[in-house]
């Protein structure tokens, strides 16, 4: 009986960390917490989820106007707290050169806390961006950022740059799949775990009609054709000759062993039936 209660509590804690809880679930968890005898707590699970959610992301800067608003609001809180205990009369955030003995409402020094709070401003904007963009199907339609050096290079140059700058690059040669008409495919695929980037180079992969079908990459990490490979993204072939396609994995990929190209409906699929395998490549490392 006790283990069942603990199981329910753990289920709720995990759900809280990943999805949040409903009002009734919150009440249920509060009740279970009264008699909890486990060291597992909600905050540690939430921190774990937060760390995972930051995988593969880049910091975004906070706009000046938003930073000003936030500093203003923090100022208000600081002033209120200071006035409440009488230790500080002035606005601590507008007097950066003054020694500030005041304590924050939570007991830690304002000046100990403030620098990393400002430094983390970008992180908070990033978190909003991550959470909202990953929970919406809307397509961003705003101003485009200035292209980076990487973006200005051709796919061939980007591939070469990856090979030259990533010591951990793995390589695999393309061979035929199960489609007789595509028996002459060749080329290779390179991948870097550290960079989470890679490129496929093909020769002999026929042009496809994007209105009817598309090519889709699948990445197998354990060397077998396991049931649930990573989706490596879709692409179309519109030219003859050699083509180079960047790999766009939807999930973090580690030590890929086999790469497979299937032919799917436009837009790709979540789970492939693997009826048409255009090419296969097995990693050499």
């Amino acid at each position: 009986m006790r283990s069942t209660i603990e199981e329910t509590r753990l289920d709720l804690l995990c759900k809280q960390a990943v999805y949040g809880l409903t009002e009734s679930e919150i009440e249920q968890l509060q009740e279970l917490e009264k008699n909890a005898d486990s060291s597992i707590d909600s905050q540690s699970l939430e921190l774990t989820a937060a760390a995972i959610s930051m995988m593969g992301l880049e910091i975004e800067p906070m706009p000046d106007h938003l930073e000003s608003k936030i500093l203003s609001r923090i100022n208000e809180h600081a002033a209120l707290a200071s006035n409440a205990d009488g230790s500080v009369e002035e606005n601590v955030f507008t007097r950066p050169r003054q020694p500030v003995p005041a304590e924050s409402p939570s007991g830690s020094s304002v000046w100990n806390w403030f620098p990393w709070a400002v430094a983390a401003a970008a992180c908070v904007v990033l978190a909003v961006n991550i959470f909202t963009s990953r929970n919406t199907t809307d397509v961003a339609d705003g101003p485009k950022p200035t292209p980076t050096l990487e973006e200005r290079l051709t796919p061939a140059q980007q591939r070469q740059r990856l090979i030259e700058t990533s010591p951990d690059v793995a390589r695999a040669e393309w061979g035929k799949g199960n489609v007789d008409e595509i028996a002459a495919v060749s080329g290779d695929v390179v991948w870097s775990d550290e960079r989470q980037a890679g490129y496929m180079r093909f020769r002999g992969l026929p042009k496809n009609d994007p209105a009817k079908e598309t090519y889709q990459l699948w990445i197998f990490e354990d060397g077998k054709l396991e049931p649930h490979p990573k989706d490596g993204g879709v692409f179309d072939v519109t030219d003859d000759g050699e083509i180079i396609v960047p790999i766009d994995p939807k999930l973090a990929t580690k030590d890929p062993k086999v790469f497979a190209i299937t032919i799917e409906k436009p837009g790709g699929v979540v789970v492939s039936s693997r009826e048409k395998i255009a090419a296969l490549a097995k990693s050499e490392t």
Binding site: I26, A51, P63
Partner: protein, 152 residues
């Protein structure tokens, strides 16, 4: 678009106030500042989405993020966090890793994961729970004693 941009800015401001209020709970021995703030941000955003029952549009965030980048040590800090999480997930069973990535990073529900992967719903829930608990241990986050107040 304007309304959504306002939503995003409101959310960021609320998160900062939450960070301020919860500053005493920050323990550098348990987690980095970045992870702590990311946790507060996730809480607030989950609450907002649950409350509003609608999702904030990504395009509105273009307005918020339109300023030129000032990339310095902040990138490196996040990279460290990402590396730790990446290593932790690498030690999990592939099924556990996949379920955690689809739920936490992609925002998919357990039912959606079951539909997409072909795993039974109960198996997805089991992988999610065991994977999260194991990742917590691997990342050394298992020594926290404070419990979240359920009403932030």
């Amino acid at each position: 678009m304007l309304r959504n941009s306002d939503d995003a800015e409101d959310a960021v401001q609320e998160i900062f106030v939450d960070v301020w209020k919860n500053a005493a709970r920050f323990d550098p021995a348990q987690a980095s500042e970045t992870t702590f703030i990311a946790m507060i941000a996730r809480r607030r955003l989950i609450d907002r989405i649950r409350f509003s029952q609608r999702r904030i549009s990504a395009d509105s965030l273009e307005d918020v993020l339109a300023e030129p980048a000032d990339r310095s040590d902040k990138n490196m800090q996040t990279a460290v966090e990402a590396t730790e999480a990446f290593k932790a997930l690498g030690e999990l069973r592939p099924e556990q890793r996949q379920v955690l990535q689809l739920s936490i990073i992609q925002g998919m529900s357990h039912q959606e994961i079951a539909d997409a992967t072909g795993m039974p719903l109960g198996t997805v829930k089991t992988h999610a729970r065991r994977g999260l608990l194991q990742a917590r241990e691997i990342m050394g986050l298992g020594n926290m004693t404070a419990t979240r107040e359920v009403s932030v």
